[in-house]
């Protein structure tokens, strides 16, 4: 499988006059994905002969294009992705894929979706210059990067999840389905799905892990108010997902499984990414308006990857834009209780797709842990796995405590409550900013608001204070 990426793509020949540069031709290299170190940067090579400059497409672009062809056909991103599902689901997934392709090119659907995104969801979301946060990262000489927040927290429902939910519920209605089934981790996807189903009058059943229901009870109440039925499953998000899929398989004709995130069998990862890509598209436009250029660095938290892909996808081919994903290290990455799939996982198949996952030596799935409930998933989007392997995106981790500190920092400096998930991305700025040259434009995806987390932060703070008191007495 790796060999199809072993050759360079075609050369683009351009005629240029008056150029006198000559560089020797480099020998062709065969690249194996498995051996490629993520730190290697791809080089853009040009060489001239007489008056002709031949520009070779960079390796990264080549790989991305090949991936696009593959993913459109078979749902593969390199070796990741695919459809590892029982035969019963293949027809259904084919239908879904066909419908997806239709709606992506249907002007009526797109117009209806645009109106819903504008009037119901509240798009476009601002690209907000965080003055006080920027000042916080200035060094003693007053130099530092500029921090912009993409305000997905201002969406209806309070997170980016609704972009995907509203589009898929419209799709389900178009396909004649009467009910929607979904699984949710922190509850944001559940709330978004319930809201969209209420608006478009479809029945809605949400599966949620018992552990998650305990940690985000307010979201459960919201889902009930919105008319959805919430089913409690023993365990967490991964168990809820399994149960939701099982329930769907029993009702393939009338029910629609709404994938909340970019995992699962093809076409789910592609579909979710397409519907979230509006984030990146708006960012490009707003960056152009604000500073007449592109962002230099994009930072997003990664649980399964939907908000990250939504921001990154637009800029995949802009190699001068750095893509940084931040995963959850839980209490500490070394104690085994974390959600750092890309940092510590191994390749395997889970929930219908091949990707990195947290598994033990026997290949059994490990539970994921994080204070950010939405980041707790032992797998990750196959597309992100691919981007990591080709070195297009970089992935780091941040602990619970660092995330809590970032939550408090943004409250204090900008008056914005970020979701604990988004706080992971914000926490990474502490390590990132000192390394960036003056004036670097950093866009952080503020993927959700943190009202739902105030109680958790409250507990941790009072517990922390109590600890401190007992220690000092």
């Amino acid at each position: 499988m790796a060999s199809c990426y072993g050759q360079f793509a075609c050369n683009i020949v351009q005629a240029k006059l008056g150029s006198s540069n000559t560089t020797p031709m480099k020998p062709m290299r065969v690249i194996s994905l498995a051996l490629r170190s993520p730190n290697e940067t791809t080089k853009h090579e040009t060489f001239t002969s007489n008056n002709i400059v031949i520009t070779k497409k960079s390796l990264t672009k080549t790989l991305l294009e090949a991936e696009e062809r593959e993913s459109a056909g078979k749902g593969k991103f390199g070796k990741y992705g695919g459809r590892y599902v029982p035969e019963t689901l293949i027809t259904c997934l084919n239908k879904l894929e066909a419908e997806l392709n239709l709606v992506l090119h249907d002007p009526e659907f797109q117009a209806e979706l645009s109106t819903a995104l504008r009037d119901y969801v509240g798009r476009e979301t601002p690209l907000y210059f965080a003055q006080r946060l920027t000042n916080h990262y200035k060094n003693d000489y007053g130099q530092g990067p500029e921090i912009y927040l993409k305000r997905e927290d201002l969406n209806h429902g309070g997170a980016h999840k609704i972009n995907n939910a509203i589009a898929q519920v419209m799709l389900a209605r178009r396909m004649g389905r009467k009910s929607v089934v979904a699984a949710t981790g922190a509850g944001q996807h559940g709330v978004a799905t319930a809201a969209a189903c209420a608006k478009l009058s479809l029945e809605c059943t949400i599966f949620m892990g018992s552990r998650d229901m305990e940690r985000q009870p307010s979201n459960v109440v919201l889902m009930n108010l919105l008319g959805a039925q919430v089913k409690c499953i023993d365990g967490s998000f991964k168990d809820a997902t399994s149960e939701a899929i099982r329930s769907w398989v029993g009702n393939l004709e009338t029910s629609y499984y709404l994938a909340g995130t970019a995992v699962g069998p093809h076409p789910c990862p592609t579909m979710v990414r397409e519907f979230q890509a509006i984030i990146g598209k708006e960012t490009r436009k707003q960056a152009m308006e604000k500073w007449g250029g592109k962002p230099d660095v994009l930072v997003a938290c990664v649980g399964t990857g939907s908000n990250a892909l939504g921001l990154f996808h637009e800029f995949l081919r802009d190699e001068d834009v750095r893509l940084i994903g931040v995963e959850a290290a839980g209490a500490s990455i070394d104690d085994g209780r974390h959600s750092a799939t890309l940092a510590r996982g191994d390749v395997g198949v889970y929930h219908g797709a091949m990707s990195y996952l947290l598994q033990d030596e026997e290949g059994q799935i490990l539970g994921a842990h994080s204070i950010g409930v939405g980041l707790e998933y032992p797998g990750v989007s196959p597309e992100l796995s691919f981007l990591k392997d080709i070195g297009r995106a970089e992935f780091y981790t941040v602990t619970d405590q660092e995330a809590l500190d970032a939550y408090r920092r943004l409250c204090r400096l900008e008056g914005i409550f970020p979701a604990l998930e988004a706080s992971h991305a914000l926490a990474f700025l502490e390590k990132l900013c000192p390394t960036l040259p003056h004036g670097t434009k950093v866009v952080v995806n503020c993927s959700g608001r943190g009202d739902k987390d105030a109680a958790t932060v409250f507990e941790k703070t009072t517990a922390g204070l109590a600890n401190h008191k007992t220690k000092s007495t």
Partner: protein, 459 residues
């Protein structure tokens, strides 16, 4: 006899004549002449309006007049120490209203920080719900102030006042809060602008809203408990005013609603008027005309004035305000100031208020904290008296039903305050001609109210 700015009111038999109220000491008649910079007809002019025919045109333009009065309502019933601060505030507001730099900065913040403009959303399923058996009915549109940063319209005013305070060189902000929404909005903008923030909150309210208290503290604000009186909103307001009197040079008081002494009702209205301005533009884009009816809930009255103000001079646009009837207008436990109140002075302004025979303030009740205020903005009192706006009320139960209804039909969970306006649609819509365009101000989101709703619905 001094007219203090706390909860004393004038006796019931008082008839407010527009010119000199004879009970006041002459000190209150002093005022500093203002620069005549005003261009808008709705702002201060030098004319003193006489008691005139309620329907005559000129009364509508003097909103407010040079004394800060709307007809006989409004004014500046405050201790002498505050007069200078109020005048300074008014002068600053007036000059900044014409300042392009200020407007640009404010617009930028409203756009990037608050998330404006908020959509004018066609509520399809709600419209369906109000269709009669022959398929006819009005069209319901929701002005989505719930999508603003912090989840309510409050931030429009908070952000503008914080910016104003900065321009005035003030480093310290104070505010009062009931359930905590205005407190959180104020603390939010203070964090954003790096201003010191002190919030006064009744001790009783602090107990009931400990999460909001925590949020204000996370935002860097100091929350001070008020134990006097009933330890609720009106006492917190009095305490905040006392603080302001003491610290007037360094401190700006962010009043949360269109109540209080002049220039606050005018200023807060102007800062919320963006709601109505956007609505006019969006209505034109969507159906090439104006709304036929505007509906909004009324506590202090800020979200309603924000929506109405743009359209007050458009006589064909009906303005409807909905107050809280609590357990029912006859139960004595409600907050329907304009329906059941009488004229008096509270917190620096003359307006309708809920008072007993001794002129003492009656403790209001509503399931929604934001409507739980015994007074109302003076401009609303004026609009009611001249018949320009109509005011009705809805009970706690009707509001809860409306809360559930919008959640189920549109997937939008409204604030309990907003739910009062939504509840009124049940009575309004059957009376409307086919195709009437109703714009309802969805002034806030209801995440904060789910626990309350669940509690009441279970009982």
């Amino acid at each position: 006899m001094a007219v203090a700015s706390n909860s004393t009111t004038l006796p019931k038999s008082y008839r407010s004549s527009f010119n000199t109220p004879t009970q006041l000491p002459s000190g209150f008649l002093k005022f500093t002449p203002r620069p005549t910079a005003a261009k808008r007809s709705s702002s201060i002019t030098c004319a003193i309006a006489m008691e005139e025919d309620k329907k005559s045109e000129p009364a509508v333009h003097l909103r407010p007049d040079s004394f800060g009065r709307f007809g006989k309502f409004g004014g500046k019933y405050v201790p002498e120490t505050l007069m200078y601060a109020l005048t300074e505030l008014e002068t600053a507001f007036r000059s900044l209203a014409e300042d392009h730099e200020f407007k640009k900065e404010l617009d930028g913040i409203l756009k990037d920080y608050v998330g404006r403009e908020s959509p004018l959303y066609f509520a399809e399923r709600l419209t369906e719900h109000y269709k009669r058996s022959n398929g006819e009915g009005p069209h319901i549109y929701l002005k989505r102030e719930d999508l603003n940063h912090t989840g309510a319209h409050k931030i429009n005013n908070a952000v503008a006042q914080a910016l104003l305070a900065k321009r005035l060189g003030k480093k310290r902000i104070i505010a009062e809060t009931g359930a905590g929404q205005h407190g959180v909005a104020t603390a939010t903008v203070c964090a954003r602008f790096g201003l010191q923030c002190v919030i006064y909150m009744g001790a009783q309210d602090m107990e009931r809203q400990s999460l909001n208290v925590f949020r204000m503290r996370l935002l860097g604000a100091e929350v001070r408990a008020v134990h006097s009186g009933t330890a609720t909103l009106k006492d917190a307001t009095s305490e905040a005013i006392r603080d302001w009197v003491t610290n007037v040079e360094s401190t700006h008081y962010i009043l949360g609603s269109v109540a209080g002494p002049h220039p606050y009702p005018m200023m807060v209205r102007e800062f919320h008027a963006v709601i109505g301005k956007e609505t006019r533009k969006q209505a034109l884009e969507k159906w090439g005309g104006k709304p036929d009816i505007l509906v909004a809930c009324v506590g202090g009255g800020s979200n309603a004035m924000g929506l109405f103000h743009e359209f007050v001079d458009d006589e064909e646009v009906r303005l409807i305000g909905v107050e809280a009837a609590g357990f029912g207008l006859d139960s004595g436990r409600h907050a329907a100031t304009l329906t059941k109140g009488e004229v008096g002075v509270l917190h620096g302004a003359m307006s309708y208020l809920l008072q007993d025979e001794d002129g003492q303030i009656v403790e209001p009740h509503s399931i929604s904290a934001g409507l739980d205020y015994p007074g109302v903005g003076p401009e609303h009192s004026f609009l009611k008296d001249i018949g320009r706006a109509e005011y009705y009320s809805c009970t706690d139960e009707e509001a809860l039903e409306a809360f559930m209804r919008l959640s189920r039909l549109e997937g939008i969970i409204p604030a309990l305050e907003t739910s009062h306006a939504l509840a009124y649609l049940e009575k309004l819509c059957p009376t409307l001609a086919n195709g009437t365009r109703v714009v309802l101000n969805c002034s806030g989101r209801g995440d904060k109210d789910v626990q309350t709703a669940i509690k009441y619905l279970q009982v």
